[in-house]
């Protein structure tokens, strides 16, 4: 306990902490509650479900639309993440380790793309992708995701790479290690946390995107989860399939929440690294 903090102080900050918890979890609890209500209770307006049922979970997995979207989302987000982090690693290494005139230019370009409005390019991309046959395909989404996450990845990785004692690899070389050994046993373990952090942030971005998915896909071939959920159609055209939407939302939200809770420190470090040091 910090010196000078009274009982009142402690209670005040405890209450604050609890309020933060309620703030963060209220909508999540609500969507979970909706997903577990039997269809007949969906409109009972109660925050806590009276009875529990898994019927909506069964419904979303019986329909072909949702499993396809989950598969598309995982595949597209994973490939975009791998590519973006790989390209960003090269660039960040050059920015941190090499003296060359383009450094400021590349960081500046990355920053301006971070501020770029994606809606400004969906029209041209839509037209271009139709001509090139990339419309409604995985590469058609991977390309924009990879590009729009590059700034985030480059900034995060540069911030992490700056902290690495690169001379350690020279020391290993002096001790008789080959360049490859020095790289594998010295540099890779040091760089891994930063790379991993950048990968989580990039994955969350790609997993979250709706605009590109809505504009550049049209069928189960490449439609990702956010677009699938937003365009979910129930059995009747005029009825919003609330229960199915809630169940699908829970299915795609829970894994991400778990990842975030487990890697909390890294995500915070990554999110603030680019902004504060930039």
């Amino acid at each position: 306990m910090k010196p000078g903090s009274s009982l009142l102080d402690t209670l005040f900050w405890r209450a604050g902490g609890l309020l933060v918890l309620v703030y963060a979890l209220l909508p999540v609890a609500w969507i979970l509650s909706l997903s577990l209500k039997p269809a007949a209770d969906l409109n009972d307006k109660h925050f806590v479900p009276g009875e529990l049922s898994l019927e909506h979970y069964q419904a979303v997995f019986v329909d072909a639309q949702f499993p396809a979207a989950v598969w598309n989302s995982i595949g597209i987000a994973a490939i975009s993440t791998a590519l973006s982090v790989l390209l960003a690693m090269f660039a960040a290494y050059a920015i941190v380790r090499l003296r060359f005139r383009g450094r400021a230019l590349i960081l500046g370009a990355a920053l301006s793309i971070a501020m770029f409005p994606p809606v400004a390019v969906i029209g041209p991309l839509f037209n271009l992708w139709r001509t090139l046959g990339l419309y409604d395909t995985w590469p058609g989404l991977i390309l924009p995701y990879m590009t729009f996450t590059l700034p985030l990845a480059i900034w995060t990785l540069s911030a992490f790479f700056r902290e690495i004692p690169w001379d350690l690899d020279k020391a290993a070389r002096v001790d008789g290690a080959t360049p490859l050994q020095a790289f594998r046993h010295v540099i890779v373990p040091l760089a891994a946390p930063g790379v991993f952090t950048a990968a989580i942030l990039v994955f969350i971005f790609a997993w979250n995107d709706f605009l590109f998915a809505a504009a550049l896909t049209s069928t189960n071939d490449a439609r990702t989860v956010p677009a699938a959920i937003a365009f979910f159609t129930g059995s009747s055209r005029f009825e919003l399939p609330t229960g199915s939407i809630a169940a699908a939302s829970v299915v795609v939200t829970v894994p991400v929440i778990l990842v975030v809770l487990v890697f909390q420190r890294r995500i915070v470090a990554g999110l603030t690294a680019g902004a504060v040091k930039g």
């Binding site: 000078g4 604050g16 902490g17 933060v20 918890l21 963060a24 979890l25 909508p27 999540v28 969507i31 969906l42 307006k45 109660h46 925050f47 390209l87 090269f90 050059a94 941190v96 090499l98 003296r99 060359f100 005139r101 383009g102 590349i106 990355a110 793309i113 501020m115 770029f116 809606v119 400004a120 390019v121 969906i122 029209g123 041209p124 037209n127 271009l128 390309l143 990879m146 729009f148 969350i204 997993w207 709706f210 605009l211 809505a214 504009a215 989860v225 959920i229 937003a230 939407i245 939302s249 939200t253 991400v256 929440i257 975030v260 809770l261 915070v268 999110l271 603030t272 902004a275 504060v276």
Partner: protein, 292 residues
């Protein structure tokens, strides 16, 4: 890091950066130039044969239409309201995260939940919460309000969703700035008899100026691009269209590439204008910081 600069190092540097630079040029610079080009044509994908050069006519029709100005006003209202609320709320969150000892890890981790949730999911959760048939908000408040069917109450729901989703990001940026404020400076102020409010407004806030400006810049530009929440909650009905929704409808729903591209270019110009204003703000702020 070696201080020397030689040609081979220069070449290697560029070589390593080329893939990233190419990707960024291919998917942003090229399309925006293409959009600039398309915006000079009458070009509707439903009538591709009627494509013809029309100069600035598309811009003229966008800029003289009420839709563009109304959507720009809507976007600015949503941006200003949500960023202002986020700044205050984010600062409170940052203070709690900074000071809380009880359940510290849980509190700090829970703040990341809104950040990690898919925006579409968050927008639907709040939409259902405010829904007069399904939601719990009306019974809790004792109201019978159809929130999303009227303009201002729809704005309220949209802003609440935006604030809920993005305040944690703001709070984390502010928390990073908060941890840079030296504790002994605050202790010294306390010894000198400054109360908590004075310590916050006279010591902490001035030292956080640059962290606050960075957070505001990021969030303002991000809020200006708002699309997902509005699309899911109202699809732009009830006069809640934002500029991104207008662009999307012109391009994807109506397949009018000429007009849609003109909207895209105008949005791009708005973003540059906002960024320029902030850069100017940074200069003023730093100049003021150096004087004092």
């Amino acid at each position: 890091m070696s201080p020397r600069r030689d040609a081979s190092e220069e070449r290697f540097g560029w070589l390593l950066c080329t893939p990233a630079v190419l990707a960024m040029l291919l998917v942003t610079a090229y399309p925006i130039l293409y959009a600039l080009w398309l915006s000079l044509f009458r070009y509707d994908l439903r009538f591709p044969d009627q494509r013809e050069y029309v100069g600035l006519a598309n811009y003229a029709s966008v800029l003289t239409s009420g839709v563009w100005w109304e959507s720009l006003a809507n976007t600015l209202i949503i941006t200003a309201a949500s960023v202002a609320i986020e700044l205050v709320l984010g600062m409170l969150l940052a203070l709690v995260m900074h000071r809380v000892l009880f359940l510290r890890r849980t509190v700090r981790a829970s703040v990341l939940v809104p950040y990690a949730i898919i925006t579409v999911v968050a927008a639907l959760a709040w939409k259902f919460a405010f829904d007069p048939v399904t939601g719990f908000v009306n019974p809790w408040l004792g109201l019978e309000q159809a929130w999303l069917t009227e303009r201002w109450s729809a704005f309220l729901v949209i802003i609440i969703t935006e604030v809920w989703k993005t305040t944690p990001f703001m709070a984390l940026l502010l928390l990073a700035g908060l941890t840079l404020v030296p504790q002994d400076l605050l202790d010294a102020a306390r010894v000198d008899g400054a109360n908590a409010a004075q310590r916050f407004f006279r010591v902490t806030l001035p030292l956080m100026r640059s962290a606050i400006l960075v957070a505001l810049l990021f969030r303002t530009l991000d809020a200006f691009r708002i699309f997902d929440t509005v699309f899911v909650q109202t699809r732009g009905a009830q006069g809640t269209e934002t500029v991104s929704i207008v662009g999307y409808h012109a391009l994807v729903t109506r397949l009018n590439l000429g007009l849609g591209s003109a909207v895209s270019v105008l949005i791009f110009i708005c973003v540059i204008a906002i960024a320029a204003l902030f850069v100017k703000g940074f200069r003023v702020s730093f100049a003021a910081g150096e004087e004092s």
